[in-house]
């Protein structure tokens, strides 16, 4: 452990973990007790209302990355670092028209993979599945790792125990309650996250003050206030397109679009984006107080907990612990459920058991969630990369899917061959930029190359028949 000073006594941390674990599992069991059909289990009966829809979209997008990486970027890249991170909200807002369109075109669809298969054919579908599963698995591992790191840094409890507890709890309640449990717990977690972050920001401003923070930064770290810091300027649109790529392709957001009641998706995603926008700025601001407080930051993704702990002792540490624990759980359960849906429908049924019944698929979903939980645990164990490295590496992959989805869902132009090429060339160029320039341009380069390829679609004839997308309805 690089940080020598754990703030929270381990018995308090265990108490919080035990309390929340019981709450989440009980809530998951209670919410899932009336699940009868596959639609109930995977898509919460397809009738989620606006309130829960906004809460689940926002809570899922407030991940450990928002609460820990946004402060890290403020600490490393300054003002534009946290503002750039908040542009992740654009992805949610831009997904709103797609969610509405998807609900209309595929009223009985299940996954983002369904759309790619029907719209672009088998080759593009398989490339998309590789990208999507790689991203989902990377996200799951980063969440498992973040849980272990957070619990270790704040309480001294070993990484192994912390990571094991959070992965096990989230897997259990997702198995019990399916998407209903995920959405229900997300609602409670959203409230906890918003209250916690707001209280922390107010306390930091009250205790340190804008003037002192500004003066110390001007004197010791002037580049953090530099609005023309080159890397930050490069980072702005990169983060925007990374967020757009994550949301446009990931089944986490598609499964919600299918689960929301008709007419809800558009409003839910716009409102969630607007409510999410200030969260990284508030969380990031906390990090800028670190130099004024003379805090040493051994690992930049731990800057927010360190500031809270230094300023408010055990109270601050408990507050951060609850916020990040809620953020982690709200995302981990969502990714588990959505990735399991993708594997059940696109791999298990799509490739191996084409005639599987709804009952068989529901049973398979339970085993797949358990398997995913176990794999997440196994891969999180050796801490194969840092959180930031793992996160930004996936940017090169997901940004390549933006244009095939945006064009494919609204236009009858664009073939499967073109979409496949856009995803492959986009990913390859994004990876090249990641290794030769820096993490802060990988998604931007990937999206640019993918766009240039997909623009050729407008030279093709408009031949796609939208009726093909409602195949699920006919085959059911």
């Amino acid at each position: 452990m690089l940080n020598a000073n754990a703030i929270l006594p381990s018995w308090i941390a265990w108490l919080i973990i035990a309390g929340f674990s019981c709450l989440w599992v009980a809530l998951g069991w209670w919410l899932g007790r009336k699940n009868d059909t596959l639609d109930d289990y995977m898509l919460a009966g397809r009738k989620v209302g606006v309130g829960l829809a906004v809460a689940t979209s926002m809570a899922t997008w407030v991940t450990s990355n928002t609460t820990m990486t946004a402060p890290q970027l403020a600490y490393q890249l300054g003002i534009w670092g946290m503002v750039g991170y908040s542009l992740g909200a654009v992805g949610l807002i831009l997904f709103a028209p797609i969610a509405r369109r998807v609900r209309n075109l595929m009223p009985e669809g299940y996954t983002s993979g369904d759309f790619i298969r029907l719209r672009y054919g088998v080759t593009a579908w398989r490339i998309f599945l590789i990208i999507s599963l790689f991203y989902s698995f990377g996200w799951l591992i980063s969440l498992g790792m973040a849980g272990g790191l957070l619990i270790n840094a704040l309480s001294g409890i070993s990484y192994f125990y912390g990571m094991t507890v959070i992965v096990t709890i989230c897997t259990l309640y997702t198995v019990f309650g399916g998407l209903k449990a995920v959405i229900g717990t997300d609602f409670v977690q959203t409230i906890l996250i918003l209250i916690g972050i707001t209280v922390l920001a107010i306390l930091v401003i009250d205790a340190v003050g804008f003037e002192e923070i500004h003066n110390t930064l001007s004197e010791q770290r002037p580049e953090l206030l530099n609005l023309l810091l080159p890397a930050s300027i490069m980072f702005l649109f990169n983060n925007l397109f990374f967020g757009v790529g994550e949301i446009f392709h990931s089944n986490v957001w598609w499964s919600r679009a299918f689960a929301f009641a008709p007419g809800v998706g558009f409003r839910a995603y716009v409102l969630a984006g607007i409510f999410w926008l200030p969260v990284p700025v508030v969380a990031g601001f906390i990090a800028l107080a670190a130099p004024a407080l003379g805090i040493n930051v051994p690992s930049p993704d731990m800057v927010a907990p360190l500031v809270a702990g230094k300023l408010f002792g055990i109270f601050g540490a408990i507050l951060v612990f609850v916020v990040v624990f809620s953020a982690l759980a709200s995302s981990l359960d969502s990714v588990l459920a959505a990735t399991s849906d993708l594997i059940v429908k696109d791999i298990y049924k799509g490739h191996f058991r084409k005639n599987a019944s709804g009952n068989e698929l529901r049973k398979a979903a339970v085993w797949i969630i358990l398997g995913l939980g176990a794999l997440t645990w196994a891969f999180s164990l050796p801490r194969i990369a840092t959180l930031g490295a793992l996160l930004h590496f996936t940017g090169a992959f997901v940004a390549s899917t933006i244009w095939p989805i945006a064009i494919g869902i609204f236009y009858r132009r664009g073939s499967g061959r073109l979409a496949s090429l856009a995803m492959v060339l986009g990913t390859a160029s994004g990876l090249y930029a990641y290794f030769t320039i820096g993490f802060y341009v990988a998604a931007l380069v990937s999206a640019t190359v993918s766009m240039l390829v997909m623009m050729l679609a407008f030279k093709e004839k408009a031949t796609f028949d939208w009726a093909i997308l409602s195949e699920n309805r006919n085959s059911k």
């Binding site: 690089l2 940080n3 020598a4 000073n5 600490y75 490393q76 890249l77 300054g78 831009l94 028209p97 797609i98 369109r101 209309n104 930064l217 010791q220 770290r221 002037p222 580049e223 953090l224 206030l225 023309l228 810091l229 080159p230 890397a231 930050s232 300027i233 490069m234 702005l236 649109f237 990169n238 925007l240 397109f241 757009v244 040493n296 930051v297 051994p298 690992s299 930049p300 800057v303 840092t386 930031g388 933006i402 945006a406 064009i407 869902i409 609204f410 236009y411 009858r412 820096g438 802060y440 341009v441 931007l444 999206a447 640019t448 766009m451 408009a462 939208w466």
Partner: protein, 136 residues
């Protein structure tokens, strides 16, 4: 020939290890963005002091038991750091960091590409959304 290559390989590894025997390591290199995380995970001792040379004088920038620190907001230039363990310094436990930010021309190029692509995406979604009400 093969034997000679193996010998040369080990000489190279040895020379490389010797030349980089400082206890201070760069664990997160963001020198083109003005930040860097320095760590000394295997340094002996319980308390550490990290000093930075400024105008020919050493200034303590960290003192305590942590085994890493993140420096950020650094302007272009070369920075010289030294580590003291339990009050003892060793000439080998020093490191030079050169910060060279990307040029503004490169930064604005990426910004411009991003902004243009963002506008195209908005246009595609807006026109597509409108047409989806009246399909083409």
């Amino acid at each position: 020939m093969t034997f000679r290559s193996i010998i040369l390989f080990f000489i190279y590894i040895f020379a490389f290890s010797y030349a980089h025997s400082s206890e201070i390591e760069i664990v997160d290199n963001g020198t083109t963005a003005g930040y860097v995380t320095l760590a000394w995970p295997s340094a002996s001792g319980k308390t550490f002091e990290l000093k930075q040379k400024e105008n020919g004088h050493w200034k303590i920038i960290y003192q305590g038991q942590d085994r890493a620190t993140t420096l950020s907001g650094l302007a272009d230039g070369t920075y010289h750091y030294a580590l003291m363990m339990d009050g003892q310094s060793n000439a080998e436990d020093e490191i030079n960091i050169t910060v060279r930010h990307h040029t503004l021309k490169r930064a604005w190029t990426f910004f411009g590409v991003g902004a243009a692509m963002f506008l195209i995406l908005i246009t595609i979604l807006t026109i597509g959304g409108r047409n989806s009400v009246n399909p083409d």
